[in-house]
Symmetry: C2
Subunit: 316 residues, 2 copies
Amino acid sequence: MDRPAEFALIRRWLTGMDQGAGVVLGVGDDAAVLAPPADRHLVMTVDTLVSGTHFPEDADARDIGHRALAVSLSDLAAMGATPLWALLALTLPTADEPWLARFVDGFSAQARSHGVALVGGNLSRGPLTASVQLTGHVPCGQWLSRGGARPGQLLMVSGTPGDAAGGLALWNSAPSPDRDALLARYLRPSARVALGQAALGVAAAAIDISDGLLDDLAHLCEASGCGVDVQREALPLSPALLACFGRMRATQMALRGSDDYELLLACAPESLPALQRAAAELVCPLTVIGRFETSAGIRINGEPLADTGAGGFRHF
Amino acid sequence: MDRPAEFALIRRWLTGMDQGAGVVLGVGDDAAVLAPPADRHLVMTVDTLVSGTHFPEDADARDIGHRALAVSLSDLAAMGATPLWALLALTLPTADEPWLARFVDGFSAQARSHGVALVGGNLSRGPLTASVQLTGHVPCGQWLSRGGARPGQLLMVSGTPGDAAGGLALWNSAPSPDRDALLARYLRPSARVALGQAALGVAAAAIDISDGLLDDLAHLCEASGCGVDVQREALPLSPALLACFGRMRATQMALRGSDDYELLLACAPESLPALQRAAAELVCPLTVIGRFETSAGIRINGEPLADTGAGGFRHF
């Protein structure tokens, strides 16, 4: 691919998504110029998807585009932030225009539905990776942290964890309504941005489940300086997951499977009704699955977790 | 590498560089929280280095770390912005701690010297790539754009272009003072951040030379809607480049070689003394090499450029 064609690619695919709040100068100069919202703190995160590590090499480019943005949106959701601006660094083995068209299609649909403007991009030749940096905002001094859970508070999870792991396990299986529903949850996760925003000022702590419920819960407990007891029977398992894997394996997937991009929330019992009402208005399942305790560590039905190291996502 | 070790890596290597202006919450939660400076616009860019494409596979990790930040700093320099916050997305084939230590060493030295705080990071297993997203600030409504050059204005270049291309061409050559000096210019470019800031409000347009002087000059002319005549003899060639390659090849490298990370600036003749004085105070070479004209396109000593497509950097 010669140089003019490469610039045409950047122009064609990375512009046109740069309209949004505070965008003074979008894609096309050495950098974007942005007006931060008044009296707000900014919230920033970066996440990278690597082909063969974070998605199967034969995944549809549209799903990769969706997912590249969704995983960063999930980080902002866990902070209670409102998304604003994204920068995309994409490395591609070849300048495959149909692939790019599908990637952009998935990415921009996610961007539109969350009001995100793509304000900068970088296209390089290399192994397939997509790195998305995302900026959002919160009221000054107010965000959902991992460190706010306290003994006596309740632990909640959004959605039906385990579905993504179930979908990935069925990647090469024959299509069926249940398998397709689970696979969609893996390929096109719905970052819980609205729930995170609603939980701001109500929940005491939050983290998103990217690496597995127990792994991310362990981070939350560690940051909060307390422990938790999870009720196994309270885990919200989807009918599709139960149908495909049975209760025992479904439970294991819900506890250990990665890629759910659901939220774990901690809240005081008296704040529960407000949180449940907000979730109901968003038609977002939110289930109490445990209670925080003084004693460090994670217990399941009172039994200390025997951490075998199995499951959860390994970055390395 | 098991999971606890991976988190230890993130903690060890991506924290401790997160002190800086406006950093409310650094590395360690789902995202960073930042207080934007009052009455400023933000400037954002992202750049990715891919092993084997943007640097030789056997390059020193310290130089890769330096370079990963420098190329993004150069984008901010071209906007006249003051750097603030960086996010780093690193993919590595293995969790090689000595490699990471050297990478961080080079990255953090650059960060310190430009007052940049690393506020977020992502470590993934994959082919070696380093993507740096950088945020800076400018006075509201005031930035150096590519589109501000006008006929009659002067074209200037900082530093001695071509050195980086010369250094790369001598990658496998025997060490010598000239070869080592050129190679250092390739491996550890100095983003002209202070010059860009000094040019803000004085220069009419700016772009950084990452892809080659003529290629980037073409972007500047196109964005500005004018052309330019470059004086070949005015090109500032370094003694090392001349000694290693002779005038003809050195000139070609200065015009077509990539990776210089110098600035091209446009300014009205009456603004030249102010810009020259500012550059002198920064001990930054700044040389007038041409004049913008009404007629579109690039000319060299009055001759229209025969663009053979040779030289310059190909992203694909």
